[in-house]
């Protein structure tokens, strides 16, 4: 028991990588070509959308290096939330209470996830949501948040669409969907099962690769340019 308590106390301290990562990402040169950076595309499944009370039940991630998906460098876990699994969330991600009965807790898994992310840039579809959950947990467990900068494929998709507006009225097209599945269909990407953190991460990785390489053909070569493209998107209304 003593040993366990010690381990836990140790875990609560932010691992050295947090401070190192902060320094690293502060000094990182964003002007290099995109293929020189490493990305980790990830997705989470949640018990609900309220960051105050909902929790992560699954994390899936895959690594991108040289703008290629490393199919064998993946991360996939189911987690045991502290509260009981709400029924309505099971309907979405199909993770049942039985499945997570023996699953590890976030405390056990998060260090491994942080390690997996390493010095990669994080990528996700509407990544802000996932990151807010992860960082809330990180603050609780380590007392520090991840410093890995995030790229949002949703914003990239919006930027890509904007780059390809041909007519003035294109921007008033109301039928555009930025849902992950719809984007996949629209761009003809291989389809994955939805609402599984790992499958969604793979789907997002495909989308990311597609967008980045398409945009590269239109002059977006460096990481900085990609960041700017994602932020240039203006709300029309």
């Amino acid at each position: 028991m003593v040993f366990k308590a010690l381990t836990e106390a140790f875990l609560r301290k932010p691992p050295p990588s947090f401070a190192e990562n902060r320094a690293f990402f502060k000094g990182v040169d964003q002007g290099r070509p995109l293929e020189e950076y490493e990305f980790v595309v990830y997705d989470t499944e949640l018990t609900g959308l309220n960051p105050k009370k909902d929790e992560i039940v699954s994390i899936g991630a895959v690594r991108i290096r040289k703008l290629q998906i490393m199919a064998g460098e993946t991360f996939h876990v189911l987690l045991k939330p502290r509260r009981q699994l709400p029924k309505d969330s099971t309907l979405i991600h199909r993770i049942t209470p039985q499945q997570i009965e023996n699953a590890p807790s976030l405390e056990e898994v998060l260090p491994r996830f942080v390690e997996f992310c390493g010095r990669a840039f994080l990528v996700g579809h509407y990544v802000g949501l996932d990151t807010s959950f992860v960082n809330r947990a990180a603050r609780r467990i380590f007392g520090a948040a991840l410093h890995n900068p995030c790229l949002d494929t949703l914003r990239l998709a919006q930027a890509y669409k904007e780059m390809n507006w041909e007519n003035y009225h294109d921007r008033f097209n109301m039928n555009v969907s930025y849902n992950l599945t719809d984007l996949g269909k629209e761009y003809g990407l291989p389809a994955f099962a939805r609402h599984d953190a790992f499958e969604d991460a793979m789907q997002t990785a495909y989308l990311f690769l597609f967008l980045v390489k398409k945009m590269r053909g239109q002059g977006i070569v460096t990481l900085k340019e990609l960041f700017n493209a994602g932020q240039n998107w203006r709300w029309i209304f």
Binding site: V62, L67, Q68, I69, M70, A71, G72, E73, T74, F75, H76, V77, L78, Q98, Q99, I100, N102, A103, P104, R112, F116, Y187, G188, L189, P190, F192, D196, F198, E199, M202, A205, Y206, L209, F210, K213, K214, G217
Partner: protein, 645 residues
């Protein structure tokens, strides 16, 4: 994702895995190999219009399997004119050939759609090819088909007098002419897919037209439908054909030219078109038919051999082997691949002869195996070489069975040898053939004979017996050959005196290094030397590999295979291994090209080359090859403690 994967961080990528299990030839692999392959997979995306391979420039480090999208493959000559070679789509691949041949990209590959590919590292792909015979077979077959297409383009580009008529043939030949003589194979819509598969297997065809029970053709099913819609989808073999057929069937008028058919098939990404004549379906034209118009294909020959129903039909077919090999050589295929191809073709001919003979004579009284010796046994045949074969059969029980077996196998062997001669494989001058009762024995006596050679070696016997040590099973119950090989591998390594004789024999062949000094003189016209490539060049490698294999218990019979296993077992150094492989392949290549030239001039293939015909680079390489022989010999001296005697 299964709950069991819960605590496993690196999950096998399901998407890759399930794609592979649906794709030939990966679906043949066992789950462990597949999972490992999937884990090492890299997924890449190439927007439409990306040039992935640049002909002659791109170093190919990965094998590419198309997950989604498509590429076009084309050649560009010096003048910039483009010859379209192929379109590849989902589930198809590119990059295998440069990896196998160890060359740069031989063609341009460009995406015609946004394309996702699975990439497998060169080493992983090669390991796969070497480990799984089914995969090897698949790539060897499809490779040869593609090779010929490329060779054709090369010929067209570089020949002074291009065979323009054949290039234009596509534009002039009508579909009707092309399929004349091909029967129309159909099946009723209500029949089961199993019946369809049986029918396709029976006639060795890849598609059947589906009729409605009366006269009307309502659809088509292809072997691909069987794979993807039945086997991969797990449907019952009893499903009616109508359930999986493509309907209505795509047609082309019989008076259309072949080029139209090719375009239509490329556009629709299908391989079969029904041929229509006056509103009636008269046959099927396939991509293969079109390809045949462009050259002689090993695959075609392979299929023709397999489809032969009469032994006499084989007589003319074996004569086509050199024609097929010719285009491979011109393409620059490595000799090792070519000899393996020749071996496969020869094996098929043997297979047909014996299968048809057994059908004629009735089943054998005992299991037997046709043994191939010498170069056939080593899978290193070039053009028609003498027969070296033998026969082993299971030990008979009792006098009566022994007599019966003797009589049966005598008839079988005599007839088979006659047919082989008629096919153009000359008799062995030393009578080492299955028709010779000495070399047609039950397993027990074979074992005893090998033991005899091993235990009481006479120098002369050793010399004569070497070709026997290169045997492999060519037809029938391979287990008999394998057990004999096993016995030999276990025994030979212990027989030091025998190995010593063999080692001494290896040192007999003196590498002709001085030959090159003579050769310098020859420039002044004083000498006219010919070099015997076989005894001076190739035999030392074969002997070395055999000796070391027997000594180290390696069971392989192919020389390159033996060298590889020896290197893997650390019996020879990696350095010597790679040098020996390079040298041996070069010598084989040289011999192959030499023999090809003789055949073209209607002369009998031999092993004598005139060094004056070689380029400086070739001479240099040859000299280095002989250096390697010397190094192998010094290793033998060391291993067997044989001084400079």
């Amino acid at each position: 994702m299964s709950p069991a994967a819960n605590d496993v961080h690196a999950v096998a990528p399901e998407a890759v895995l399930s794609f592979l299990t649906r794709t030939l030839p990966f679906n043949e692999l066992d789950p462990a190999t597949l999972t490992n392959l999937a884990r090492h997979c890299i997924i890449d995306f190439f927007p439409k219009g990306t040039l992935i391979f640049r002909q002659g420039l791109t170093e190919v480090n990965h094998f590419y399997l198309i997950q989604k999208g498509g590429v076009k493959i084309y050649l560009k000559d010096e003048e910039g004119s483009v010859t379209l070679k192929d379109f590849r789509g989902e589930g198809e691949y590119f990059g295998a050939l440069p990896i196998i041949q160890e060359t740069r990209a031989n063609l341009n590959v460009e995406t015609v759609e946004d394309t996702f590919c699975f990439l497998f590292a060169k080493e992983a792909f090669l390991a796969l090819i070497h480990s799984s015979p089914k995969v090897t077979h698949y790539f060897l077959r499809s490779m040869s088909e593609k090779l010929v297409k490329t060779a054709y383009a090369e010929l067209r580009q570089h020949r002074v007098n291009p065979r323009t008529e054949s290039a234009l043939y596509l534009f002039s030949a009508q579909i009707g002419e092309t399929i004349r003589g091909k029967s129309l194979y159909t099946i009723a819509a209500g029949d089961t897919v199993q019946a369809a598969a049986q029918r396709m297997a029976e006639f060795n065809i890849g598609s059947l037209l589906v009729h409605d029970g009366r006269e009307k053709i309502i659809g088509i099913i292809t072997d691909k439908d069987l794979r993807t819609k039945i086997v991969a989808a797990g449907l019952s073999y009893q499903s009616p054909v109508a359930e999986i057929m493509a309907s209505p069937v795509e047609t082309i008028p019989s008076q259309a030219v072949c080029f139209d058919a090719m375009l239509k098939m490329m556009r629709l990404r299908i391989h079969h078109l029904a041929v229509e004549q006056q509103e009636k379906i008269v046959g099927v034209v396939t991509t293969h038919d079109i390809m045949l118009l462009q050259g002689t294909s090993p695959l075609y020959l392979f299929r023709e051999i397999v489809a032969q129903r009469k032994i006499e039909g084989l007589y003319s077919l074996s004569g086509k082997v050199p024609q097929v090999v010719r285009s491979l050589i011109e393409e620059g295929a490595k000799a090792n691949n070519i000899t393996r191809m020749i071996t496969i073709l020869n094996d098929q001919i043997l297979d047909r002869i014996l299968t048809l003979l057994i059908a004629e004579l009735g089943p054998p009284p005992l299991p037997f195996c046709w043994l191939l010796m010498g170069s056939e046994g080593r899978r290193e045949q070039t053009f028609k070489t003498d027969q070296d074969n033998a026969l082993i059969y299971a030990d008979p029980e009792g006098e009566e069975q022994a007599k019966e077996a003797e009589a049966y196998f005598k008839t079988l062997a005599d007839k088979a040898i006659e047919h082989l001669v008629a096919c153009g494989y000359p008799r062995c001058p030393g009578e080492i053939m299955a028709s010779n009762p000495k070399w047609r024995q039950p397993a027990r006596l074979w074992q005893r004979r090998f033991d005899g050679w091993l235990s009481t070696p006479e120098p002369r016997d050793v010399l004569h017996s070497t070709i026997f040590f290169d045997f492999r099973g060519g037809y029938g119950e391979r287990g008999l050959a394998q057990r004999l090989r096993q016995h030999l591998a276990e025994q030979a390594r212990k027989k030091e005196i025998f190995l010593l004789h063999l080692a001494k024999d290896c040192l007999e062949a003196r590498p002709p290094l001085s030959f090159f000094r003579n050769f310098i003189v020859e420039k002044d016209g004083e000498h006219k030397n010919l070099l015997d490539l076989k005894t001076k060049g190739l035999v030392p490698f074969v002997d070395f590999a055999r000796l070391m294999s027997l000594k180290c218990g390696v069971r392989e019979s192919n020389t390159l295979g033996r060298l590889q296993l020896l290197a893997e077992g650390d019996h020879i150094s990696r350095e010597l291994y790679s040098e020996a492989v390079d040298a041996y392949e070069f010598l084989m290549q040289l011999r192959l090209i030499h023999q090809m030239q003789l055949l073209e001039e209607n002369r009998t293939p031999d092993n004598y080359i005139n060094p004056a015909d070689l380029s400086d680079l070739e001479k240099q390489t040859l000299k280095e090859a002989f250096e390697v022989v010397r190094r192998m010999q010094s290793l033998i001296k060391q291993e067997f403690r044989l001084g400079e005697a």
